[in-house]
């Protein structure tokens, strides 16, 4: 992979501008504030990609919220080729028993990780469990999951920025862009 000093040079197209993202985050924040008014809400962010979205979303919500962070291992993140099971790398810090929980995701594509998380969190007896994602890439879905709050449905392209990475880079871009195919080996 050749990575240029200027991260934006690796972007072939800006899919969502910073302004578009912020407008959508505000809209989602308003909806969530209305829907959960008077209820005990915990936002659970899934590291690392959803950090920027979480930070902006929680500040656009006008009702009291608690936040928590989780991180789970990825299939591709295994150190060896051996099989295994997904692992909770960072668990919740506080109990969600009886609380209304909103999972905050950066992107949902296959749905495999989220499907696991939903089952895991349901086992902790929340009052309700809903899902908010900034980006939805339905073309790659393997496991159907009901999304309660969806920012944008995006085409089947490899996107980076606003928390999304390629090789741990590009997360700090303020927009969501399409990575130039030259940067990686084109999957097609």
């Amino acid at each position: 992979m050749t990575r240029r000093p200027d991260l934006t040079a690796d972007v072939s197209e800006i899919l969502l501008s910073e302004e578009q993202i912020q407008a959508k985050v505000l809209e989602l924040g308003r909806r969530i504030s209305d829907d959960f008014a008077g209820r005990e809400l915990t936002l659970v962010s899934v590291l690392k990609g959803s950090l920027p979205f979480m930070a902006d979303l929680m500040r656009s919500i006008t009702i009291p919220v608690q936040i928590d962070l989780m991180e789970v291992s990825s299939y591709g993140g295994m150190a060896t080729e051996s099989s295994g099971l997904v692992r909770i790398l960072k668990d919740l810090s506080s109990s969600i028993d009886g609380r209304h929980v909103l999972i905050v995701e950066d992107i949902i594509d296959t749905g495999l990780t989220l499907n696991y998380l939903v089952r895991y969190l349901r086992g902790k007896n929340p009052a309700s469990l809903k899902i908010c994602t900034l980006l939805d890439k339905p073309a790659r879905r393997l496991v159907e999951i009901a999304i309660d709050y969806r920012g944008f449905e995006i085409p089947d392209q490899f996107v980076i920025g606003y928390g999304l990475d390629y090789g741990e880079a590009y997360r700090n871009l303020r927009f969501v862009g399409v990575l130039r195919p030259e940067v990686y080996t084109d999957p097609d």
Partner: protein, 208 residues
Amino acid sequence: MDLDADLDIRHAPAFAHASEAELARILDFYAVAWEYEPHTFPILFDRSGTVLESFSPDFYLTELDLYLELTTLKQRLVRKKNRKLRRLRELYPDVRIKLLYARDFRALLFKYGKLSLADALTGADGQTTPPRARPPRRIDGAPLVQAPTDPASAGPIGHGQGGRSADDPARRGDHARRRVRRTRAEARARAASRLSTAGEPGGMEVTA
């Protein structure tokens, strides 16, 4: 690397394709319960109701009530599979099934940083099939050649590994094609140690 070695031996079937073993490993990783080719759906009958063609989706995700069919053939070669899928959806509209094309599988491996595996697991190179350890099992006792009175309401008629009937003419055609491809594919499989299925009974067979 033996692609089958790490799968839970309690439910690791004889996969028809190495890509299926990899997909099974991904499903296992995310704790998605699956069965391999548990059901066979008749999709073509003659006038007497004899099954002329059937379709066994690769995976059934039991908790999600979803079938997955994985094909790593080049896009231009998947016409037959697309036709089978259309037919299945016509006859069994309640059956939920997703078809993963080669590009989808490559994208999946790319997502997990395993794109280097994709070429070895794509197309004929990945087609290394040990013979089925046992004949297809049936769960309802109905003969495989029996057409459902109302195909749209009929459920799958086979159960177990490799539900396709050996009497299925389409499968006999598959056998002919397999024989042609066997030598080349076996050579490739031997060369790719990661695809080795050494130790499994009867060596390898190639599926179309």
